[in-house]
Symmetry: C3
Subunit: 347 residues, 3 copies
C-alpha cells in the first residue's frame, strides 16, 4: 500500500473528483483518516450524523461532508451528496495500487504470450491459450489453467488457482488462496450408496469490476456456466456452488455458502456465515442477515433474518429445552382457549 509522497491539494482533489470546496484550496492533503484520529495533513469524512459531534474537536486538515452538515463546519470541507463514496475516491487517489513490474518473472512457467504491460510474478504457472488484458498482474505462485481469459487491469494476488477455460473480466481483483473453477459437487448415487462423479464441463464466468476475497472458492458449472455478474464483491472464505448466478453489484460478507444452481439477484447483500440452499431464486435488492439459512426462494426485496438470539448458557439451556416442545405448546394453547371459551359460555 503506497501513497503519493507529496499528496494532493484540496484544489487538485476537487478538480479530479468534483464536489464543492469551502476553504483554502492550496491546502495539501497526504492521507485519509477518521474524524477522531486525523491530523492536519489528513482528510476525514462525515457520513453518519452520530459522528457530527466530532467535527468541532477534529484536528483534520479537511473533511468531506453532505450539504446539510456544511453550515458551521469549522474545518475546510468538500461538500458532496455521498461523502462516503467521495472519501473512497480520495483514499484511492492518495493510495494508488502499488505497481508490479511488468513482464514475466524468469522463474515463472508461462506457455502463452502476453502484452508487455502484463506482469507475471515469480513461480507463477500459466497454461496454454491463456489471454490476459493489458496492465493486468498475476501474482507469485498463481496457477492459471489452459484457455483462461483475464481482462485488462485485473489484479490476481499471490497463490490463486484458476482452472481451465474460466473467463474473468476487466479490473477484477482476486485475493490469495482463492480457487476459481474447481469441479462442482456433482455425483450420482449407486444403489449401494457409492457415488459416481459427474464431469463438470461448465465454466466460471466473472464480469468486470468484481472483487473476490482470500480463500473464496467458486465452482465451475456442471453443464452450463457459473456466473458472477459485474461489480459483485465477495469477501473471504465464501463458497459458491456450481451453476450459481450472482447478479450485478451484489455483495457478500465472509464465510457465506451458496449451494448449486441458486440464483441471486442484483444489489443484494448477504451477511457473514449465511447459507442459501440450492436451486432457489432470490430477488433483486434482498438483504440476508448474518448466519441466516435461506431455505426457500425470496420473491420480494427486503431484509430477511433467521438467526437464533444468544443469551447466557444457563438461560439458553432452559429456553432451548422448550424449542423441542413448541408444537405441543401451541396445541396446549388451542386446548386452553377451547376450554376457556366453554367456561365463558357457561358463566
Amino acid at each position: 500500500m503506497s501513497e503519493r509522497a507529496d499528496g494532493f491539494t484540496l484544489d487538485e482533489i476537487v478538480s479530479r473528483l468534483g464536489g464543492e470546496l469551502i476553504g483554502d484550496g492550496r491546502f495539501r492533503i497526504l492521507q485519509v483518516a477518521t474524524l477522531e484520529n486525523a491530523g492536519p495533513a489528513e482528510i476525514a469524512f462525515l457520513a453518519n450524523p452520530k459522528y457530527r459531534k466530532h467535527l468541532k474537536s477534529s484536528q483534520a486538515g479537511a473533511v468531506v461532508l453532505a450539504p446539510t452538515d456544511a453550515p458551521g463546519c469549522p474545518l475546510p470541507c468538500i461538500v458532496t451528496d455521498n461523502p462516503y463514496a467521495y472519501y473512497a475516491r480520495v483514499a484511492q487517489l492518495l493510495n494508488p495500487t502499488k505497481q508490479a513490474p511488468s513482464g514475466i518473472h524468469p522463474s515463472a512457467v508461462v506457455e502463452s504470450d502476453f502484452d508487455p504491460s502484463v506482469s507475471i510474478g515469480a513461480g507463477a504457472c500459466v497454461g496454454r491459450d491463456v489471454r490476459i488484458g493489458v496492465g493486468s498482474v498475476v501474482g507469485p505462485g498463481c496457477v492459471i489453467g489452459d484457455g483462461v481469459t483475464l481482462g485488462a487491469h485485473a489484479r490476481l494476488h499471490g497463490d490463486i488457482t484458476i482452472y481451465p477455460d474460466c473467463r474473468i473480466g476487466a479490473r477484477v481483483i482476486i485475493h490469495s488462496g482463492a480457487v476459481i473453477g474447481a469441479d462442482g459437487f456433482g455425483f450420482a448415487r449407486e444403489t449401494d450408496g457409492s457415488w459416481i462423479k459427474i464431469p463438470q464441463i461448465g465454466r466460471v464466468i466473472i464480469g468486470d469490476d468484481v472483487e473476490i476475497g482470500a480463500n473464496t472458492t467458486i465452482d465451475r458449472g456442471a453443464l452450463d456456466d457459473t456466473i458472477i455478474e459485474n461489480g459483485v464483491k465477495l469477501d473471504n472464505q465464501i463458497q459458491i456452488g456450481h451453476n450459481v448466478r450472482i447478479g450485478a453489484n451484489t455483495a457478500m460478507a465472509g464465510c457465506v455458502g451458496i449451494a448449486g444452481s441458486a440464483r441471486i439477484g442484483r444489489r443484494c447483500t448477504v451477511g457473514g456465515g449465511a447459507i442459501i440452499l440450492g436451486h432457489l431464486h432470490v430477488a433483486d435488492d434482498v438483504n440476508i442477515s448474518a448466519a441466516t439459512l435461506v431455505t426457500k426462494s425470496i420473491a420480494e426485496a427486503g431484509t430477511y433474518t433467521g438467526a437464533m438470539p444468544f443469551e447466557s448458557h444457563r438461560d439458553w439451556l432452559r429456553n432451548a429445552a422448550q424449542m423441542r416442545h413448541l408444537d405441543e405448546m401451541a396445541e396446549k394453547l388451542r386446548l386452553l382457549e377451547a376450554r376457556l371459551a366453554q367456561l365463558e359460555n357457561k358463566t
Copy 2:
C-alpha cells in the same frame, strides 16, 4: 475438460455401459445436456418424474430413462434402473479427464523417484520417501511432505499441501487449496490461561475413490490417525478436525465443520454449513440437514435438522424476542392450565 471429438454411437455406449437401447444404435452422441437444452447430438436423462413433461418437446438425440418412462418415449432411449448414475457414466465417457504430461516438470523440486507414468507439475515440491502410484498427477505448485504415500491414478490439482507421512488412496481427486495433515487444534491450558501446544503425531489416512474439494482442510491426528474411508466425497471449504473418522461413501456439502474425534458413519450426508461437535458418534445412513448443529450422538439412521426458519426481518424481531422467554411461556401455560382446571372444578 476435454471431449472426444467424434463422440460415441448409442450402440457403443450400450455395449460399454449396459442398459437396453430402444431406437437406432448408429446414432452418434457428442455430449450430455439437460432434457430442455439438449440438441440432436446430445444425450439427456430423465430421473425425476416432474421433468417427464419435457420429454415430448425435447430436441435431444437420445435420453436415458427408467423402464416406467420408456413406453411412449418419442426419442431414442436407453432404459436402465438408475438413469442418473447411467448418465454420470455416459458423461464420463464423453468427457474423459484431460491427460497431464507424464514425467517431472523441470521447475519442480522432487526428492523421490517415481514411475515414469507419474506427472509432477511445474513448481511442485515433493519431499523424500514419497511414493506415488502409476498414472497419478500432482498439479503445479503442490507441496508434498516427506513420507507421503499417494495411490495409483490419483489426481491432485494445483496448489495443494500434503503434510508429511499422510497416506492417500487410489483414484483420489483433491482440488486446489486443500490442506491435508496440518496439525490438529490441540493445546493444554496453563493456570494463567496461556496454551501449550500438544504435538500432533498422528497422520491422515484417506481411502480409495475419495474426492476432496477446494480449500478443504483435514487435520492430522493427535496420537492416532484421522481416517477418511473409501468413497467419501467432501465438497469445498470443509474442516475436518483431528482424529475424526468418516465412514465409507459419506458425502458432505460445502462449509461443513467436523470437530475433533467425531466418528461419522457410512453413507451419511451432511448439508452445507452443518457443524458436528467433537467426540460424537453418528450412525450409518444419517442425513444431517444444512446449517444444523449436532450436539449429541445420533444412534439411529434418519434425517436430523436444527435450523431456525427465516422470515422478514420485522417478523423475526418480534418472534426472536420471545425465544428468550420460552421457558417463561411454558411456565405460564402450566399455571393457566392449573387455574383453569380449578375453575372447571368449581363450575
Copy 3:
C-alpha cells in the same frame, strides 16, 4: 513429526520439566499415548477423573497425574498440579519439531538478506525489506510480501501468503493455505448500488506464540491495524475481518468468523462456526459456544450460547412451524390470562 530415537528416562523428564517422580527414574520413555493404548515404553496422563478406572489396567510405562490421583497408582508416576499441561510438555520433549535445513533453497526467489539460520523453502517468494528472526522457517511455496517482519523461531508451513508490511511475532506457527493481510472488505456504495473500493492501508500485527490454522484468513486494517495479541490460537478456516483486535491467549475453533472492528477480550474461547458481528466488544474470559451468532457486545465473563437444538426432521418441521408464531403465541397467552382472570373474578 520426528521423535528422539532413544527417548528420555523418567529422571531426565523430571529434571527438565519438574514434578515429583514416584517410581524408578531409570525407566526409559519413547513416546506419549493415551492411558488405554499406551505400551510399556510410553507415558500417559490422567487429567479427567472419569478415566481413573483405566489406571489399573493400563500397560503404560508411566503416568502423569495430579496429587489426588497418586495414592495407590499401580504405575510409576509423575505428580504435578496440571497433568495435561505437563503431558503437553513431555509430548514436545519426545516429539521435537523436525529441523528444516537452514539457508535459502536455490529455487526460492528472495529479495532480502537473512541470518544463515533462517530456512527458506523451495519455490518460496520473499520480497524486499523483509526481516526474519533467527531460526525461523519459511516453508515451500510461501509468498512473503515486501516489508514483512517475522520474529525468531517462527514456522511458516508451505503455501502461506503474507501481504506486504505485516508484522508477525516470535515463535509463531502458521499452517498451510493461511492468508495474512489481504484487503479488508471495505466499499462505499454509490446511489446506483455499485461499490467503490476503499483502499485498505492498515496492517496485520500478530504477537508472539500465536498459532494460525490452515486456510485461516486475517485481513489487514482499513486505516488502523488488525491486531492479534500474544498467545492467541486460531484453528483452521477462520475469517478475521479488518481492524479486529483479539486479546492475548484467546482460542478459536474452526470455521469461526469475526466481522470487522470487533474487539475480543483475553482468554476467551470461541466454538466452531460461531460468528461475531462487527464493531462489538467481547469482555475477557468469555466463552462463546459453537455455532452461536453474537449480535451485541458482551460485557461480562461467562458462557454464551445461541444455537437451535436439532431433532428428527419430522419433529423439527412441526416445531419450526411454530417459531414464526411465537409472538402470536405470547399474545394469545396474554389474552388467555386476562380472560381467565376475569372469569376468576366472576366466580
